[in-house]
């Protein structure tokens, strides 16, 4: 469950961004559309607590996340937010399974191997668990990225351009998986994108 209130961010004096208030309930999907330079990535970073806002508040699961002390932020983020990136970054030296378990480790949770298997099965890459991430195709990598965002049962999934590097077929698959997994896990899903292909898919959307 995500709520933002009168968020603002400044890059120096010239570039000031004022963002609309948004809400997203568990199981729902919010699509945030915008062209390059509209500040949509900044908005996502604010919601992901990766950037501190100049003004305003981000509430996640009823907690005022922007009010948390700095040293508690990484832990709070790890437990409550799952991030899906445009380019699925991985630790290339580790195999797929360890990349997923790493999410548990950094969140301070015990490694949940059964969840790895469960997610790998429902996202369709069970056979790839022991492969190195660099051996995977773009679509496969993005599915592993989604699974990683779900490893700690996050209540908020933030996806930054999750489909813009994919072809139409994979774009549809990934969007569908994102939505169904978020629903299944009772998580609020926020997708920030300029990908017009997703417009028709998610009815609840705002444009920056």
């Amino acid at each position: 469950m995500l709520e933002t209130h009168s968020l603002e961010f400044h890059y120096g004096e010239s570039a000031r961004f004022v963002f609309p208030d948004v809400r997203c309930a568990p199981g729902n999907t919010l699509l945030i559309l915008g062209n390059s330079g509209s500040g949509k990535t900044t908005f996502l970073n604010l919601m992901a607590l990766l950037l501190p806002p100049a003004r305003g508040e981000v509430r996640i699961n009823g907690t005022s996340a922007t009010g948390l002390p700095l040293h508690e932020l990484p832990g709070f983020r790890a437990r409550n937010i799952g991030l899906v990136f445009q380019k699925p970054y991985f630790v290339n030296a580790l195999n797929v399974r360890d990349n997923l378990l790493m999410a548990n480790y950094f969140a301070g949770n015990p490694p949940d191997k059964s969840r790895v298997n469960h997610l790998a099965e429902s996202l369709g890459f069970f056979g790839l668990l022991d492969k190195r991430v660099t051996e995977l195709s773009g679509g496969e990598q993005q599915r592993v990225g989604i699974a990683r965002a779900l490893m700690n049962s996050a209540k908020l999934i933030l996806a930054d351009e999750p489909t813009s590097a994919l072809d139409d077929l994979n774009c549809g698959k990934v969007a569908e998986l994102l939505e169904s997994q978020a629903k299944e896990n009772g998580a609020a899903l926020v997708i920030v994108t300029h990908d017009q292909r997703l417009k028709s898919r998610f009815p609840y959307q705002i444009t920056l």
Binding site: A78, F85, V91
Partner: protein, 421 residues
Amino acid sequence: MLLKIVWKNIMDKRLNSILAVLLMAFGIGIISLLITVGKQLQDKFAKNISGVDMVVGAKGSPLQLILSGVYQIDSPTGNIALSELNMLRSNPLVKELIPLSMGDNYKGYRIVGSNEKYLQHFKAELKEGRVFEQPMEVVVGATVARNLDLKLNDTFVSSHGFEADGHSHDDQVYKVTGILEYSNSVLDNLLVSDLASVWLVHAGHEEGEKQGHEEDGDHDEDADQEAAADQEPGAEQASHEPEVTCALVKFRSPMGLMSLPRLINQNTKMQAALPAIEVNRLFELMGIGMDAVKALAAAIMLISGVSVFITLFNALKERKYELALMLSMGGTRVKLFFMLLLEGIILSLSGYVLGILFSRTGLWLASGALKRGYNYTLEQQFLQKEEIYLLALALFIGIVAAIIPSAGIYKINISKTLANE
């Protein structure tokens, strides 16, 4: 998990890691080998020297006299008359005088003619049997007995000189009456008899050789060579005045040190050499070479540090995204800093372990070579104090090399890096 990530990253950069580890291992290995070998040699040298204040022998190189008389590793300088020694023995400053007579060997191990005091000097104890009581009885050092499989009451004939394949004295047969315990001294590699045995063997030998000369005039060359190479006792002596090779002298007081060497060198045909001074000179000469090699090894270790630095620095650039990802997933910068630091530490530590293994293998090989060449052996030892310092040095180099690249983790801007701007 953290260790797994560190390990996988090291394995991912296998070649770089191997280079860093090998460089460190070579540096550590060379220094450690020098330290252990140098230490053991110095120990051996010091142990054998202890109690011997002065060595007297024929004129020549004082270092050679010490090496042959105390350590039994060089050829003797020549012979001296026993009568001259006896005059020295009566000097009130002399506490003890042990005459030594060399010239023969059995299968490469020297036979030294002396008296019981020589055994007592090294606090040698008999493992079995008894000390020699009459000529041609011999007490065998522990290493000799083990390597040649000599037992009590075994008999053998000696060979002339110090090479195993020298002319053999077939007419006189030695008999083993005692076998010594290990004393970790030069005694381990010797066979000790009384003085008379050596005279007896060579008296016969001389006559035999003279006969040979008479029968065959072409033998001149051989005989000359033998005499020159082996410094055989009594070779040129027509008279049968008893001779010995040298004598170990202990003084009654430090006054002896002040006056006796000069007295001997100026007034007799003998030469006096002080082991402490000669050995120090030897180690000073060796020390220059050792220091040069140590400096080289330290430079190699330093290069290993540079290689760790470059590996990690490049890795940090390449892994910028991975690190930003870990940060976004809840990893703290402190944790990731130590993760990178750990890579450097693991590399230098494995270099250290490998280096010590190199050093021990080298020690083993050197011991084999020394055994063949000089019948000296080196022992495998546990970590030396200096090697603990080396460990600290290796860790220090690893940490210093890793700390600058690792600190780069504090410069990563998560949102910018992940947004790929």
